[in-house]
Amino acid sequence: MLMLTCPWCGRRPEGEFVNLGEATRPRPDDPAALTDAEWTAYICDRQNIRGRHNERWWHMRGCNMIFVVARDTVTHQVFDMAADEAAP
């Protein structure tokens, strides 16, 4: 079982959280200016990294905070956490 550290609630079991996927997908500033292919890439494509990546978690059954976690997708080791200030 994964243990995640919520910036507000501290170390909690993974069942309280929901994984929101990759954190490295900034929303385009002006979607209307994109081509269909670019918009499709934003909506659908995923890096799907084998190894360490940044992902967003939502403390749904807790304080409701959304934050970013660095986790290795092979070993499931969680590296560090920070409040999701940079998130768009």
Binding site: L2, G15, T40, A41, D45, R46, H76
Partner: protein, 415 residues
């Protein structure tokens, strides 16, 4: 190819079984092929077989990082079924079931195909409505998916016992008579042997480390740990690791990889003779020919390449199991494993050309053991002719542009 039969078994028994040929050759790696297939799992080998059989393309190498059939082909729960929701998915998987039914005969290899039927246990009204809709969709295309009563459920699955204390008692069931299982290793080995007999080369322990490109940007071959191999077409069948491999060609696909785990109990006497699936609580259970109960549930809800046991999911599945089958409480679990399955943004497979000429992908199988025969048939058609097979026209990567998704509710067991 040495044919297997009762007589060959008897003849070889007389010579102490020392006269058997190897099931496939291990030729030296050439530096040029017409087609290189990356990944010697079920889909890669089936594709190679159909390339040789239907299209006469035999200058083919199937290269594999590990050993033959050692990826997801070895890490699934060998269920074959066609109870899908979308028209294209039903037709596609119905063909796959029919090919599986004939596979042992066609490939002269006993894959221990056992069409024992599959029963979906319905424990919520929403699921009942959903599965009735699916049965009507399937009725349009042929495969059977019938509503059965709780009495009938208990008659067919006596191992459930008394249901009065169950928190979510079954309301009804759906019977899928085409549901089957087969020995997964035998499927890979039989395709390998049949493809090899038609001239295809299989190279294990050959890892693709990169791709080479012609001046016009088209693919010209692969770099491997055993040197460069030129090819006119490179076809990926690298279930679970497709994003990782294709990133070396600079492409990004709409895929996420997750861990799907299963586990088996100690062997017991025959107690369940159908495949039981409980979509409401995330559980399926069947009994293997060895007597072990094969148990699984949904995917882990996070991106993962771990291929192992994720304890919180394991706990959920076991809780569901002992709720419906309290008598299994004392069973010891023998083994557990996970497969790295990848699913596309709309949960339907991708059999497609890519933006790089000559590079093709077959991916997004989200539990693709059941699709091995038809996946190979349609992928080989695309590789050989450049046009999608009529069964797989909807599975191109181009469907994502314009967001024409093929949303599928029937993919993995916990549906």
């Amino acid at each position: 190819m040495q044919r297997y039969s009762f007589f060959s078994l008897a003849r070889n028994a007389l010579s102490q079984h020392e006269g058997w040929q190897r099931a496939w050759r291990s030729p030296p790696l050439k530096n040029e092929y017409d087609v290189v297939i990356v990944g010697a799992g079920g889909h890669g080998l089936s594709t190679a077989y159909h390339l040789a059989k239907e299209h006469g393309v035999t200058n083919v190498a199937v290269i594999e990082k590990g050993w033959l059939g050692g990826g997801n082909t070895a890490r699934n729960t060998h269920t074959i079924r066609s109870n899908y929701l979308r028209d294209v998915s039903i037709r596609f998987h119905d063909v796959s079931v029919k090919l599986y039914e004939q596979l042992s005969r066609e490939l002269n290899y006993n894959i221990l195909f056992s069409q024992r039927s599959m029963i979906d246990l319905i424990q919520s009204w929403g699921k009942l409505r959903d599965l009735r809709r699916r049965s009507l969709a399937m009725a349009l295309h042929g495969p059977d998916y019938q509503l059965i009563s709780v009495d009938e459920l208990q008659r067919r699955i006596p191992a459930m016992g008394d249901l009065s204390g169950v928190r979510l008692p079954p309301l009804a069931g759906m019977l899928h008579p085409d549901g089957a299982m087969a020995r997964h290793d035998a499927v890979a080995w039989s395709y390998a042997r049949a493809a090899d007999a038609r001239g295809v080369e299989i190279h294990q322990h050959t890892e693709v480390t990169g791709f080479t490109f012609a001046a016009n940007g088209a693919i010209s071959g692969v770099k491997t740990n055993r040197g460069e191999v030129r090819a006119r077409k490179v076809a990926l069948a690298t279930a679970g690791n497709t994003s990782h491999v294709i990133a070396r060609a600079g492409l990004i696909l709409p895929l996420v990889t997750r861990n799907l785990q299963a586990f088996v109990s100690e062997p017991v006497k025959p107690i369940i003779d159908v495949i039981v699936n409980c979509p409401d609580i995330g559980l399926y259970v069947m009994q293997s020919d060895k007597g072990e109960l094969v148990i699984g549930g949904g995917t882990d809800p996070i991106p993962s390449y771990r291929q192992g046991c994720h304890f919180s999911t394991f706990e959920d599945v076991v809780a569901s199991l002992v709720e419906l089958f309290p008598r299994f409480k004392n069973l010891k679990m023998l083994r557990q494993w996970g497969g790295a399955i990848e699913f596309a943004y709309d949960a339907s497979p991708i059999i497609s050309a890519t933006s790089i000429a000559g590079l093709l992908v077959s991916t997004g199988w989200y539990g693709g053991f059941k699709s091995i025969p038809v996946g190979g048939l349609t992928y080989a058609h695309l590789i050989a002719t450049g046009q999608p097979h009529s069964l797989a026209e909807a599975f191109g990567l181009d469907r994502f542009t314009g967001l024409r998704f093929l949303l599928e509710a029937g993919t993995v067991a916990q549906r």
